[in-house]
């Protein structure tokens, strides 16, 4: 199995990973369901959430900083 130990460094893009819990009819994130603190992966920042139905949701951000509340500041549009 591959592991993160294969990753070359340094990375240059921040990554945000999020996983969210939702039910099948109303995909809402329950308050306080962030699944761990923000992480960085190379140049990308990520935040994980868990949806109400147990499925993971990961939000990634690049080139932007995370605010104190874990939210992404100054998000660019695609």
């Amino acid at each position: 199995m591959v592991t993160l130990t294969h990753l070359p460094s340094p990375f240059t893009i921040p990554l945000t990973l999020v996983s969210v819990k939702r039910n099948r009819s109303a995909p809402q994130i329950r308050a306080g369901e962030e699944d761990g603190p923000p992480e960085t992966f190379g140049p990308v920042t990520l935040i994980r959430y868990v949806k109400d139905d147990g499925r993971a949701l990961i939000l990634y951000s690049h080139g932007r900083r995370l605010g104190e509340d874990g939210r992404i500041e100054d998000r660019p549009r695609a």
């Binding site: 591959v2 990554l15 969210v20 993971a56 998000r75």
Partner: protein, 315 residues
């Protein structure tokens, strides 16, 4: 005649059966029959959730790139995984219209998912792919791709490993050398990536985006190589759209080392577009399905110059 890895859920049955005559696994994901099919834009489940608006898969008013477990999975833990990768919160556009910065970030998202899914004990192979266009079965128009984490090694990567044995080393390295020596099918290249219509292309405008250096997977790539990969892919798909001056359907598949045989493999991306002319599709019919032999009506040496010119026009 046994079901393997089968699991009942309230929504259906997911599992696999081995087709003896073809020597391959067939995956059954019964609840996918009910998946969302070409909804109107205002009901798109991949758009952000606006305050007071209809809930979507991503309960935020804006986001950059989102990955979530597929609501209608072909694979699910403890027998693999199926994820959706949403490239942008904008409903319109495509991989080709993403900003350079976003496309580069997407390479890192792919890398992250490959690393994380590939590390799981129940995953033998991670396939990152995109289906673009209703011609290849797209059910949601919002720019996105998918990831399947297979609990077994599928036939195509197994054939690539067999090609390594047949050619006495890394097959993509050898094929890249041959294409560069010939040169007539190369349609784009940058410092780290070469794009060509392969010598034995099955689809009229099939193209392979190949790392120059031997990199088994995204994990071994230097940051600059990931940027070059994003550039090569975007140049190609923009050229596709310019070729017939219409959105060009394709299947894009990221080929990497099996996660449990990481020393093997060579990162490359294969694109299979079904169009053989602006308005004619290549169908998989008698020979392709009954005998497993592709019949193509276009020589790669004829399609490559047209695609090369289209890429130049789109640049």
């Amino acid at each position: 005649m046994s079901d393997r890895s089968g699991a009942h859920s309230p929504d259906g049955w997911v599992g696999q059966r081995y087709a003896e005559l073809r020597g391959e696994q067939v995956v059954y994901a019964i609840d996918r029959q009910e998946r969302t099919f070409l909804p109107a834009a205002k009901h798109c489940p991949l758009c952000p959730t606006n305050p007071g608006g209809e809930p979507t898969e991503i309960p935020f008013a804006e986001f950059e790139i989102a990955v979530f477990d597929n609501r209608f999975p072909a694979f699910a833990s403890p027998h693999g995984a199926a994820e959706v990768v949403v490239y942008t919160d904008a409903h319109t556009g495509s991989f080709g219209t993403l900003t350079r910065e976003r496309a580069q970030a997407l390479m890192w998202v792919w890398r992250h998912r490959y690393a994380e899914l590939g590390a799981r004990e129940d995953v033998a192979y991670v396939l990152i792919f995109e289906n673009r266009g209703v011609e290849v079965g797209v059910t949601l128009h919002h720019p996105h791709g998918q990831i399947y984490a297979y609990p077994f090694l599928p036939p195509v990567p197994a054939l690539e490993l067999a090609a390594d044995e047949r050619l006495g080393g890394c097959a993509p390295c050898e094929l890249l050398r041959r294409e560069l020596d010939d040169g007539c099918r190369v349609v784009y290249e940058n410092e780290d990536v070469v794009v060509y219509v392969p010598y034995a292309a099955r689809w009229a405008y099939e193209a392979h985006v190949v790392m120059r250096a031997h990199r088994p997977s995204l994990l071994e790539c230097e940051p600059g190589e990931l940027d070059a990969l994003a550039e090569g892919l975007q140049m190609l798909v923009r050229g596709y759209d310019a070729l017939f001056d219409r959105p060009f359907p394709y299947v894009m598949a990221v080929h990497q080392a099996p996660s449990d045989r990481h020393a093997r493999g060579h990162l490359h991306v294969e694109l299979y577009p079904p169009l053989r002319t602006a308005h004619k599709l290549k169908y998989l019919a008698g020979s392709e399905q009954g005998a497993g032999t592709f019949i193509s009506d276009t020589l790669p040496e004829e399609s490559a110059p047209a695609l090369r010119a289209a890429i130049a026009r789109a640049a």
